[in-house]
Symmetry: C2
Subunit: 381 residues, 2 copies
């Protein structure tokens, strides 16, 4: 048999779910994980425990892999270059990944290809940030460290020049990107997958609802989205994937404005929370298509299997034991799809998600929210 070995760097839930989706294809997985307790390390057979920031570890791991892909975007670019020099295909490659690692590089590239973005520029200090505000409509503005942020971390909304948070982003010693605070009506995400061959598929554009900067629910497809806007969002994501040379899954997080514009918020070059609904709601999941893309196999059909699919994230609550909540959740909704990550429960930590689908959006939303709330412990009946 010549079934390939996919080397997955990082042991988080994205690696876990990618492994799950690779099993039916007979694809062999090899995992580089920080600890044996990591989400994916619990379920993968072939696990190497080590630090991806150490080049020797990474090189040893890559030996025997036919291709390397990632659970996260934090592997240093120079390490990726070294792997590529060793002859190991790295997907997405470093020329693409740099845009996901550095928001400054990402914005510059998006400007270059004419992708619509919030007004932005790199700012050097608090005074410069205030000047950036004055160049536009004033405060509030958003400041982001160009590297290292996720789920609202590394992002500050600054209300005025006197805001005590104004100086904070500059303390990390990382360049700071200033952006206008977009007055959006909602957040959308356009998920696409692209293969080295250049084949690409687009999932339906979804609506992503955040609570406290963390994704709470995703509705697929985005309700009441004008067809023209949906098409524009899909085309934009496909164009970004092509121009940035992305291989694998690309999530383009978007702001939809009241005046019918879409602006790129963030990019993620890996399976993404806004695509988790595809596990139960699409013909081919984002994880299966990511695997197919990194192996340069023909991509699977991204179309939805249900009229509506809703994903709700399960955050940790005060209760460490989520398993006991299964009884009620499963008995209440035999169609419920639970996806847990094997993580210890900590308040506010993403430990899983649920998917529901059906013809009636209100019902589908209610079932997802109920299950996520019951698992967290915020709903008790």
């Amino acid at each position: 048999m010549t079934f390939p070995v996919v080397g997955m760097v990082g042991g988080g839930q994205l690696a876990r779910m990618t492994h799950e989706s690779g099993i039916p294809l007979g694809i062999k997985f090899k995992l580089l994980s920080d600890t044996p307790q990591d989400s994916a390390a619990q379920v993968v057979g072939d696990v190497v425990i080590g630090d991806y920031r150490d080049l020797d570890t990474l090189r040893d791991f890559a030996r025997g892999c036919d291709v390397i892909t990632f659970d996260h975007e934090h592997v240093p670019i120079e390490h990726l270059r070294a792997l590529e020099a060793d002859g190991i295909p790295v997907r997405p490659g470093r020329d693409a990944l740099v845009h996901a690692q550095d928001k400054g590089v990402m914005r510059a590239k998006l400007d270059e290809i004419g992708a619509p973005c919030p007004r932005h520029r790199i700012v050097g200090d608090p005074q410069d940030a205030a000047a950036f505000a004055a160049e536009g409509d004033g405060f509030p503005i958003v400041l982001k460290t160009v590297r290292g942020g996720y789920d609202g971390k590394g992002v500050w909304v600054i209300g005025s020049a006197e805001d005590p948070a104004l100086a904070q982003p500059f303390r990390a010693g990382v360049p700071v990107l200033a952006e206008e605070k977009v007055d959006f009506v909602r957040e959308l995400a356009a998920n696409v997958v692209r293969s080295p061959h250049g084949q690409a598929v687009a999932y339906p554009v979804v609506e992503s609802r955040q609570v406290d900067g963390v994704c709470d629910t995703v509705i697929a497809p985005a309700p009441d989205l004008a067809e023209e806007l949906a098409l524009r969002a899909e085309e934009l994501a496909l164009r970004i994937a092509k121009e940035l040379g992305v291989v694998g899954h690309l999530a383009v997080e978007l702001f939809e404005t009241a005046d019918g514009r879409i602006l790129v918020n963030e990019l993620a070059m890996r399976p993404h929370n806004s695509g988790h609904w595809t596990q139960d709601g699409a013909i081919t999941s984002q994880f299966a298509n990511h695997v197919r893309a990194v192996l340069d196999l023909p991509l699977g059909d991204p179309r939805p299997r249900a009229r509506w699919t809703v994903m709700a994230n399960v955050l940790g609550g005060d209760y460490p034991d989520m398993y006991s909540a299964y009884l009620h959740c499963m008995a209440r909704d035999p169609q419920l799809k639970i996806h847990m990550y094997g993580k210890d429960v900590k308040p506010g930590r993403k430990v899983g998600h649920v998917n529901t689908y059906g013809d009636d959006l209100d019902d589908v939303l209610e079932r997802a929210r109920h299950a996520a709330g019951y698992l967290r412990g915020t709903i008790t009946e």
Copy 2:
């Protein structure tokens, strides 16, 4: 976290796919496998290599498991008794499993509960088998060793009293069951899942088509099956599950006769080839429901997600390299679902299956057959 550990005895593809379906639930799997190369051992993290026929091995393995279940039905009944005496829940339990291990015991029990069976009795030697034939409509008859058969092995169709095969079944030193050769119009399978709690669900009755005694395709639901007969088959399977105390998945293989009867052919107390279509065609797969049942969790919805789903087994051909066939199969049918088992290809060996679904049965059948044939190498375009 109090997520349970499911101990799975046997490393075949059923264990592999059960593990796959347990990952989203956060269920921890521990596998007892003959070799590290076994189908499931390739993808499960926590694997013990050992012989399930050795009681000490089995006991050591069971320590730390919250429940034990099986990839196959070959674990000696006395070993199951020992595990139960150690306080480990075994599901299905020995009182149920004995019916799947011994076709003589199975037929006796089915007679007792009034389940319709082909005419049958245990026969002691070739003369007795000929007498059995004479008691009914004569030859042909079917002889089966009561233990150890599968996929046509351990089964002989005897055409006449002079048939040279008549003596063969008696050479194994295992009791021999004689059955009338049922003149069936087709084979059906009724798949049900039952929990210790007594909850049970029934999947739609499917048609199973055999080639050379091996399952070739399964069509869900069985085309043109009278609703009354479908209901009778589901009720029969549910009744057998209850009366035999089955926990987990039960497949009841049935003959449909020209005069509208259904007769029980075989029982399997584990996920079954006739239920593989549920992975992509039902709301909850047989594997996920088997896991839920052995953990006494509420069962998931068994209803179909598509009008038609077809499963076609992929047998090994002359070509050892099935992976290279992915390119054509995936490009031809982006909706195709491939399930490979990680097994070495040997001619005639089941190494995987494909699922297809849709509204047009002819199309769904053609796609499944094409993919299975192309993977095997019997179709080359």
